[in-house]
């Protein structure tokens, strides 16, 4: 086994991992950073983010507004201290990216332009056309090349964390091109492996988004928090689930059902006009828009396509020039994948799984309960998204908390010494043998793709936009069964070089663990909040019993234990979450109330 000694190891080199690596390098250039990624960094799924990243810039906007939008958008399940830190640091991170060369779209005067986004009261979404994630990722990757202390392990697949002496001290990785194992020793480890959307069938995620880091931390006893909150994105291509950015609606796009009606006005988001209008209609939050689609489908008002039911996203009134300038990738995708030119015809769209609000439990400094282990980005639950994330908060999160993770891990690494190499290597060897068991044993009886498809279908059925106890229970049982069957999974490929079948089998193990955490957390939350909506008598938010975080605790055999943790509420007491005219009225009432209080 190869051994590499580093100060800070980072697993995952998407937006959060790269930002963290740069933060370590800037905090202390003498620290060696091992940046481990199963793909070349610029292939990471940050690349597919389209619409933009939040950061307050306008004079009539404020951190308080961004805070309020985020906390109410999250249905008050947010860690309010973390949200405060977040909104206060978004803008400087956006400026930092600008200094590093990110080609933000500009206004005529040369200042960075911003656009409207769902659930946001005032325009504060920075964007680079409709390829914001792509440009942010390439900017971060290319900038990271400047720092000699960042040692990349590109196409190294992390198969375990090394926990020794009560703290995380490294990672074990498979060099994909050789099949050889490398132990990457570290004084601190940051997980930045992104989400787990591939747990579901129709999703916007790339094939690599398999919850690796979540599962690894979870198996080592770190709770996965709020996993039942899975975001569906309302505008995706039917069948493939490919993402059609919310920026389409930020720019003024409308959504209509088969009768041509802007149906969102029938779901508490109206009135329809004037349009565009913030925090109303098509610029409502994602959970509400997906729920509206579900009802339209139930009531037979959606449009049948070869790939299933859809509604129409109509951009025609924006005109060719604006579409090509602001939404070039959407035009290209609609043309390539549907043969539709959005200049002339509406795009059929439907909800698909997009984002995991929950993740590895970390505190406001990105530290997990396991000493030496940090997490940032979608894999983490720092608590800013609550029960529903607002669009453009996740790209900002990568930067704000990627940087914190880097600084904190650097500080921790400086204040500690490397552990005992002999015991660490012994541990790594045991982990290596566990990983090798999948290829070494004789023929298994279960096909990877069969298990994966059964999981994805069952998750969609039990943990979809609307949920009920019976279906969630069935999904929990299905995942339990699949985990048992996984013990006999077949890896026919016995070779070392680029054995992707082996890696798929390991990923399937990660997916199943994460799926189980999602399903059991969902089953146990007997209320409706944000993206977790129940139809079986628990259709209201229940602050008395469930204004708390779910904590899924891994169990070696059998289902996870679901515990609960308190929510940090500093200054925004849970209120009514309202959008459209109702939201405007609620805001007037609130202001009126404050005026009387004074």
């Amino acid at each position: 086994m190869h051994v590499f000694k580093s100060d800070v190891a980072i697993v995952g080199a998407g937006g959060a991992g790269l930002r963290a690596a740069i933060a370590v390098a800037e905090a202390d250039p003498s620290l060696t950073v091992a940046l481990i990624s199963k793909v070349y960094p610029m292939r990471s799924h940050t690349v597919a983010a389209e619409g933009g990243a939040a950061g307050v810039v306008q004079a009539h906007d404020s951190l308080q507004h961004h805070f309020d939008d985020t906390v109410s958008g999250g249905d008050w399940l947010c860690e309010q201290d973390a949200v405060d830190y977040f909104v206060a640091h978004c803008t400087e991170e956006m400026v930092q990216l600008e200094h590093w060369g990110c080609p933000w779209s500009r206004k005529d005067d040369g200042h960075v332009d911003i656009r409207a986004f769902g659930g946001m009261k005032i325009e504060r979404t920075w964007f680079a056309a409709d390829k914001t994630g792509f440009h942010m990722l390439h900017t971060l990757f290319q900038t990271s090349i400047k720092y000699p202390s960042i040692k990349r392990f590109d196409e190294y697949f992390c198969c375990d964390l090394i926990v020794e002496d009560g703290r995380c001290q490294g990672a074990l990785a498979i060099g994909i091109g050789t099949g050889e194992f490398t132990l990457i020793q570290a004084k601190a480890v940051i997980i930045a492996t992104g989400g787990a959307g591939r747990v579901f069938r129709q999703n916007t995620n790339g094939g690599i988004v398999t919850g690796d880091g979540m599962a690894l931390a979870y198996r080592h006893g770190v709770p996965l928090r709020d996993m039942e909150f899975v975001q569906y994105h309302p505008t995706c291509l039917p069948g493939s689930g490919l993402l059609i950015t919310e920026a389409c609606r930020g720019e003024g796009g409308i959504m209509v059902n088969k009768d041509g009606r802007r149906y969102l006005q029938d779901y508490g988001l109206g009135p329809a006009d004037p349009w565009p209008r913030k925090k109303a209609m098509e610029l409502g939050p994602r959970d509400r828009l997906c729920q509206a689609f579900w009802h339209e489908e139930q009531n037979g008002r959606t449009i049948a396509t070869a790939q299933g039911e859809a509604v129409h996203l109509d951009l025609r009134h924006l005109g060719k020039k604006k579409l090509h300038q602001r939404l070039p990738q959407i035009c290209e995708m609609a043309e390539a994948f549907l043969g539709v030119d959005p200049v002339d015809a509406p795009i059929p769209v439907r909800p698909a799984v997009h984002y995991t609000m929950g993740g590895i439990q970390v505190d406001i400094k990105t530290a997990s309960p396991l000493p030496g282990l940090y997490a940032a980005g979608e894999c983490s639950s720092i608590g800013i998204h609550g029960a529903n994330r607002l669009g453009s908060n996740s790209l900002a999160e990568l930067c704000v908390f990627g940087k914190v993770a880097g600084s904190e891990a650097a500080r921790f690494a400086t204040s500690t010494t490397a552990g005992n190499s002999t015991t660490i290597e012994r541990q790594a060897d045991a982990a290596r043998q566990r990983a090798m068991k999948l290829v070494n044993r004789s023929k298994g009886s279960e096909r990877i793709s069969v298990l994966r498809n059964e999981m994805a279908l069952s998750m969609e059925r039990g943990c979809g936009i609307y949920r009920n106890g019976t279906d969630m229970q069935a999904t929990c049982e299905k995942i339990d069964e699949l985990k048992l069957r996984y013990r006999n999974v077949e890896v026919g490929d016995k070779s070392s070089v680029w054995n992707t079948e082996w890696l798929l089998a390991i990923e399937l193990g990660y997916l199943l663990d994460v799926a189980q955490a999602i399903a059991y957390s969902a089953l146990n939350r007997k209320e409706s909040r944000g993206a977790h909506q129940r139809l079986d008598g628990f259709d209201q938010r229940d602050d008395a019993n469930y204004l708390k975080h779910s904590l899924a605790q891994y169990a070696d055999a059998g289902p996870p234990r679901i515990d609960y943790g308190r929510v940090a509420i500093t200054r925004s007491q849970p209120g009514t979450r309202a959008y459209g005219a109702a939201g405007e009225q609620a805001e007037r009432d609130r202001k009126h109330g404050e005026a009387i209080d004074e």
Binding site: V39, Y40, M42, R43, S44, H45, V47, A48, E92, V95, Q96, E98, H99, W100, G101, P103, S105, R106, K107, D108, D109, G110, H111, V112, A129, K131, F134, H135, H138, Q142, T143, I145, G177, G206, G207, I208, G239, S240, L242, A306, Q307, Q329, E332, M333, A336, F337, I448, S449, E490, V491, G492, D493, S495, S496, V497, W498, N499, T500, E501, L504
Partner: protein, 251 residues
């Protein structure tokens, strides 16, 4: 929906260095629907027919740059190329030309990444600024000069298309030269002179024989040939400036 599913033959180049003395073609029969991409065809093979076939992929939407391959001899992204366009003929999928095959459709990308790392692909600021001072101003026109070249997804199709890179792997090549140009043309940057040393060197722009196939195969309209050409002009200007103004002379 159509009950009789069409079936297309996909002929894939296989090579497993531990097992195969040399590459060979293996043909798979793949049922497909109208919207299925070549990548989805490969995924069908991997899931249903032969788990040992290896290839890179991720985003499925032509932005991560992973799934480039020679499809009937033309460098293309698998996710952005559709089986319906080849049916009823069979379809041949091979690894990207001009790169060493690691296994099956996976090629070694080290050379490309190494070149990318050499060109200083980051801003070296003209006037350093603190974050508190806010963003650099950049007009839409200044942005326009770099936007196209910053759209490179590093898919390496242009390298597979470039006859010169095929002959001489030392050539920096179209994609990386486009990125180099992207930074040189950025109103915020000051490292042009350092990068021009690479541009002017033997493996820089002068290796390009102006075939233009790189731009034809680019899935993102980056037009690397244009970047290379613009740098030939600048490189030539540099050369003449160098003749009339010896090093060390003031401006």
């Amino acid at each position: 929906m159509n009950e009789t599913r069409k079936v297309i033959a996909i002929e894939v180049l296989r090579y497993r260095p531990e097992l195969d003395e040399k590459p060979f073609f293996q043909t798979y029969q793949v049922p497909f629907t109208e919207e299925m991409s070549v990548l989805q065809g490969l995924l069908y093979i991997k899931d249903e027919l032969d788990g040992t076939l290896s290839f890179r992929w991720s985003c499925r939407m032509a932005i991560c740059g992973s799934c480039g391959a020679m499809i009937d001899g033309v460098p293309k992204l698998g996710c952005h190329t559709f089986l319906r366009d080849y049916y009823p003929n069979k379809l041949r999928v091979e690894p990207l030309a001009h790169f060493p095959i690691e296994r099956d459709l996976v090629v070694g990308a080290d050379d490309f990444i190494g070149k990318l790392e050499r060109i200083k692909p980051y801003i070296v600021p003209k006037e350093p600024r603190t974050l508190a001072e806010g963003e650099y101003l950049q007009t839409p026109a200044q942005l326009e000069r770099i936007l196209q070249f910053s759209s490179c997804i590093n898919c390496m199709l242009c390298y597979a298309a470039c006859p010169q890179y095929g002959l001489d792997p030392a050539f920096i090549g179209p994609g990386v030269l486009a990125l180099l140009h992207r930074y040189n043309a950025d109103s915020r940057d000051s490292a042009r002179a350092e990068r021009m040393e690479l541009v002017n060197a033997e493996e820089g722009v002068w290796s390009c024989t102006a075939v233009g196939y790189c731009s034809e195969v680019c899935p993102k309209g980056v037009d690397p040939a244009n970047a290379v050409n613009q740098n030939k002009t600048t490189s030539a200007v540099d050369y003449f400036v160098h003749l009339v103004r010896p090093k060390g002379a003031g401006r």
